[in-house]
């Protein structure tokens, strides 16, 4: 499947500056077909091709350089306190992007579909969490005592994740399964349709305005201060929970039987079938886990920002998708790292050129990645013999 079909689309220079034994595969086939576009420039072609290959090979370094520069710029503008606060904000935002990005990358890895509805599963999960909290009176429980808070968290996380997981499974079953062997554009269009459908339902049910979750008051207080920067318990909770979930997922995918079934199905579906792996169940499980992580992100989001709206998942989803592409679509660790990098770019890019530019900046980065390094920073490594 993906392994083989990805190779022809691998971008020029996509092999990276390595010894040649490791090839990064443009799994998504997102990259330019050939480098020949530059022949347009006639005599300048060799120079441009060299520039292209330099940027392509050093994309990660260039991006990191820009991030460090913008952090430093923020320091010059507002001093250590502003810089520290922004780093904190970036990590909190990045944790949420990372969790959502993992869902995109897992689904892409296994069925080569950019699941546009994923961002809306995030939003819907936010409403699930509100519903669960209201129905079970968790808001008063959570604010009553520390034990009450732990209990409320222990209820709202698994229940929202379960509900979101089932939503994801249902979406795959209804909208994507029958199109699995159809041309790739078909499920992609369906995914956009599912996205609009979910947004429409939320708009009608929840209204056009922000809905306060009540979870903003769950966790309060400053844990400690780093200089003038106060680190709240919420901040620790957000980043800690995200990291915990990501490591748990990593262990799951590496070690468990189902995790191995997911990896092997992503690498070669036919071979997985021949090993007796139930492909439908494996794909359902992938959707379940990806959606459950989006729900965890939504609960974290609710606790941190305090309100949700019918369409927040749309932009947030595309930004998280950018994080997945940055990390190398199909690569779970890449999506995690990509999420935090995008968080940094969003916050520090914004603090330098103005917050209203943040999203434009992210999408400019998306275009740059697709042009210069469609395999992403980490790609999906396929070790081949020279």
């Amino acid at each position: 499947m993906s392994d083989q079909s990805g190779i022809p689309g691998a971008a020029p220079g996509g092999t990276g500056g390595r010894s040649g034994s490791v090839t990064l595969v443009d799994q998504a086939n997102l990259g330019p077909r050939t480098a020949e576009g530059s022949s347009f420039f006639g005599a300048a072609a060799p120079v441009l091709r060299l520039a292209y290959s330099l940027i392509s090979k050093n994309f990660g370094a260039l991006l990191l350089g820009l991030i460090v520069l913008s952090i430093f710029g923020t320091f010059l503008q507002g001093g250590a306190t502003l810089m520290g606060n922004q780093i904190k904000n970036a990590l909190v935002l990045g944790a949420i992007y990372a969790l959502v990005a993992i869902g995109y990358t897992m689904v892409y890895g296994i069925i080569e579909l950019i699941n546009f509805a994923h961002g809306d599963v995030f939003t819907v999960s936010g409403f699930y969490a509100i519903f669960i909290a209201n129905t079970l009176h968790l808001n008063s429980l959570a604010t009553s005592s520390f034990g009450g808070l732990l209990l409320a968290l222990a209820i709202v996380f698994p229940l929202s994740m379960l509900a979101a997981g089932l939503t994801g499974v249902a979406i795959e079953f209804v909208a994507y399964r029958r199109l699995r062997d159809a041309p790739r554009l078909a499920p992609l269009i369906t995914a956009i349709g599912v996205s609009f459908l979910i947004e429409g339902v939320m708009l009608v049910r929840e209204g056009p305005d922000y809905v306060t979750t009540g979870q903003a008051s769950w966790i309060n207080g400053t844990a400690f201060k780093l200089g003038q920067v106060s680190i709240g318990y919420t901040d620790l909770f957000v980043v800690g929970t995200a990291l915990l979930l990501m490591f748990a997922l990593g262990a799951f995918v590496q070690r468990t039987r189902l995790g191995k079934a997911m990896r092997s199905t992503a690498q070669d579906r036919t071979a997985a079938l021949l090993c007796g792996i139930d492909i439908n169940r494996t794909i359902s499980a992938t959707f379940f886990i990806g959606s459950a992580l989006a729900a965890a992100a939504a609960v974290i989001y609710s606790i941190n920002y305090g309100d949700v709206k019918w369409n927040i998942g749309f932009r947030l989803g595309i930004i998280a998708f950018t994080a997945a592409v940055l990390g190398g679509i199909g690569n779970i660790v890449g999506a995690g790292v990509g999420g935090f990098l995008i968080g940094l770019i969003y916050v520090f890019g914004g603090s330098l050129v103005g917050g209203e530019w943040s999203e434009a900046l992210i999408f400019a980065i998306l275009v740059l990645i697709l042009t210069f390094r469609p395999v992403g920073l980490f790609g999906v490594e396929v070790t081949t013999r020279a």
Partner: protein, 255 residues
């Protein structure tokens, strides 16, 4: 073979019981979209046999194995495995029934280690002790894989990859093993080694259906053979008879 496509060598008389037939294809027609790949192909493999499937490129050999494994369904005709019709039960289920398939192109999990690939072969088994015994057996058959067990499968040499492909199929403890050109791209000395292993596997009780470009080697290894031409069975019979057939000698043995 013959002008009208009729077998010139008669199939051995059907005196066996139904349960004796591990694989029983009955006049299957298989299509890829509108293109017909197999026409009324009938083929049997009995318990304990090595059967060879030969024919030129595009004759339909791989398609035949894919049909047996349930990767593709016949439009007409019947596929019986272990005496039962398997219509529509799906490839994963067929694998669990005891059909091991080392497919064309090897299809290893390139980003998994040798050991993980072998483990995936045993995916649907629960008997830990049996799995350990079989892993040991694969490592004994292919000592090279033991040395490489934590290397990514995608970085192995072609021959090593072939060993993993066969090993992975063996790890399911199959009752019948389908091998699609196990010698492809191997050095002559390795080809002999692989065929030695194939005989050894068979001697331990596994039935084998084998595709092989080297018709002589295939027929010498097998008790019976089928010759496919343009998606139809042109000839079938005991190996010695096929080797002795002038048509076969001219077309496949280069004599």
């Amino acid at each position: 073979m013959s002008e009208n496509g009729q077998p010139v060598v008669a199939t051995t008389a059907d005196t066996s019981t139904v349960t004796d037939k591990v694989i029983d294809l009955r006049a299957i027609d298989v299509y890829y979209g509108r293109v017909q790949a197999l026409t009324r192909v009938s083929l049997e493999v009995r318990q304990g046999e090595i059967v060879a499937l030969i024919g030129s490129n595009g004759a339909g050999k791989t398609t035949t194995l894919r049909t047996i494994s349930g990767l593709i369904s016949p439009r007409k005709g019947e596929v019986l495995l272990f005496g039962k019709a398997i219509q529509g039960i799906g490839a994963a289920q067929i694998a669990r029934l005891g059909v091991g398939h080392a497919p064309e192109g090897r299809r290893l999990f390139a980003r998994m280690t040798v050991r993980e690939n072998l483990d995936m072969g045993a995916y649907s088994r629960g008997d830990r002790a049996g799995i350990r015994t079989d892993l040991e057996r694969v490592y004994t058959l292919f000592p090279r894989l033991r040395e490489r067990d934590s290397q990514l499968a995608g970085s192995l040499s072609g021959g090593e990859q072939q060993m993993v492909a066969i090993g992975r199929a063996l790890m399911s403890a199959p009752k019948v093993l389908l091998l699609d050109e196990p010698s492809l791209g191997l050095a002559p000395i390795l080809v002999d080694a692989i065929f030695e292993v194939i005989r050894e596997i068979n001697a331990k009780g596994t039935t084998i259906l084998l595709i092989e470009q080297n018709a002589l080697l295939a027929l010498k290894t097998a008790v019976r053979g089928y010759v496919l031409e343009n998606g139809a069975v042109a000839l079938a019979g005991p190996s010695e008879e096929l080797i002795a057939s002038p048509d076969i000698q001219r077309a496949y043995l280069g004599m």
